[in-house]
Amino acid sequence: MASVPVTLITGTRKGIGRHLAEHYLALGHRVVGCSRQPADLDHPQYQHVTTDVCDEPGVKALFAQVRKEHGRLDNLVNNAGIASMNHSLLTPVETVRRVMDTNLTGAFLFTREAAKLMQRVKYGRIVNFTTVAVALNLEGEAAYVASKAAVEALTRVMARELSGFGITVNAVGPVPIETDLIRAVPRDKIANLVNRQAIKRLGKFEDVANVVDFFLQPDSGFVTGQVLYLGGV
């Protein structure tokens, strides 16, 4: 890996993605971020691309840009995600499609295109985002949990398919963190969820960054196909 890593993070306009972009910029990475809407993150080493993560032509154009401007990609963090908190009997099929598209198709597309760049130099680190809700079979989030269970399967299978190229694929499963994603969830639901953790508190951005740091380290080359849940779930 070169001295200044190139790190691509999806969903950097706000929330965990925004925090991770700032975190890796502070560590000296060149960061490429994306979201559906423009972001106000202004930093000489940061570049923002406006695209939907499941729009194939848009994603391919993003990677063509990374290839031209940086010539390589060291790290990919598939953070972009949407949730749907609703009883399955009250969930429109359009919501299911949208959640699957962003969370699963988006992660697939970015991983595929990133691996094409990474395989040339036989080095790459890919981190996907899942959720403790998968391990807890959390009721009220069927579409979201199903999409993230699929992301976990993708993580394990692609870890095997890409191992020969020196690329690792792992996933981090945060507990609820104060972001837009959970703001709409009733307080007692969050309290119930936190009570099922070994360590009973909300997550912090730093907790997530710490796990992503570990997976991205060059020294973590023997760690792949793993799903790491926070909070002792």
Binding site: P57, K60, A64, R67, K116, Q119, R120, G164, F165
Partner: protein, 101 residues
């Protein structure tokens, strides 16, 4: 266009072989076997070559092509057999993409 694509694939094969330490003993041409019996590449190297050719085609012709879709993988006579078959397949995909654009 076939000749241009053949040259492009030969260049990509040479570059890949140099990067991955694959020994090329013969001159490369349309009849060079890429994959399968007597082929230059193992399956991982073939994946890398297909990606490199897709990228080179996109850069040269400013048109993205997919050379690894289900269609290619299910064809009875694989387009990955030789440099020539891959060049024909790339030419076919490229003109299809241009027509639909």
């Amino acid at each position: 266009m076939n000749d241009e694509l053949t040259q492009l694939i030969i260049a990509a094969t040479r570059e890949l072989s140099a990067e991955q330490g694959i020994e090329i003993k013969q001159a490369l041409g349309p009849d060079t076997r890429l994959f399968g019996e007597g082929g230059l590449l193992d399956s991982m190297a073939l994946v890398s070559l297909v990606i490199a050719v897709e990228q080179a085609v996109e850069e040269k012709y400013d048109t993205p092509v997919a050379l690894a879709d289900e269609k290619a993988l299910s064809q009875r006579s694989s387009p990955y057999r030789t440099i020539g078959t891959l060049a024909s397949y790339a030419a076919q995909e490229l003109s299809a993409r241009r027509q639909s654009a």
